[in-house]
């Protein structure tokens, strides 16, 4: 899964100084879900990706990228 999607969720979360549990509470999912997204095990739906971006006050593009977009 990690080959298909580059995830910058952890960096964005750390920038705000919040834990996975805090982020999970803001988004309304379990901490396990945030953990699996963060570690590239689970690819979130568009709705969850948008909710994560809103909770972290950033854009979906800043959180997730395709491998060939990393240079951009």
């Amino acid at each position: 899964m990690t080959e298909r999607l580059i995830v910058h969720l952890k960096q964005a979360r750390q920038r705000l100084g919040i834990t996975q549990a805090d982020l999970a509470e803001r988004v309304g999912v379990s901490r396990k879900t945030v953990n699996t997204v963060e570690n590239g095990v689970f690819v979130p739906s568009t709705i969850l990706a948008l909710a994560l971006a809103r909770a972290l006050d950033t854009s979906v593009d800043a959180l997730f990228a395709l491998p060939d977009q990393t240079e951009a």
Binding site: Q14, A21, V29, S30, K32, N39
Partner: protein, 153 residues
Amino acid sequence: MSTKSRAMAEKWVGQRPVFVLGYTAGFLAYAINAAAGLASGDVAPFHLQLLAWAAAAAAVFTISFGRGVTRLRNPEAHAIVNDELAASYSNAGMRWGFATLLAGSVAMLVATLWTGTTPVWMLVMVPSTGIAAATLRFAWSDHRSARSGPDDD
């Protein structure tokens, strides 16, 4: 949502794989016992045995793919327990369950053609194996995701 409700939901999510694995093992043991009883004829009336099995199967299915057995009454806590990740694993479990059910049904058909009558134990074991395959796949995915990486910093 209160902190307590959220903590309970998170606790259940953490314990869920072990719990699902445990009652699936129990259900399978029960199904094997029921199938052996049906095969030997040393059981309660057939329809009662089948009814008891159906109740157990429905319970296992509901617990795995429904709202679980938690005492969570808060809808938001339920949403956490049955969030997107859990739904994804449920779907994977369903796929495995139906594939196993299909394979078992084909085996039952072949056995029926071979012997002339459907082996009665297969009526219990085929759907039981399908349900067990679904719940085990769910439990395995759920367990593996808990070990996907570091929790926090």
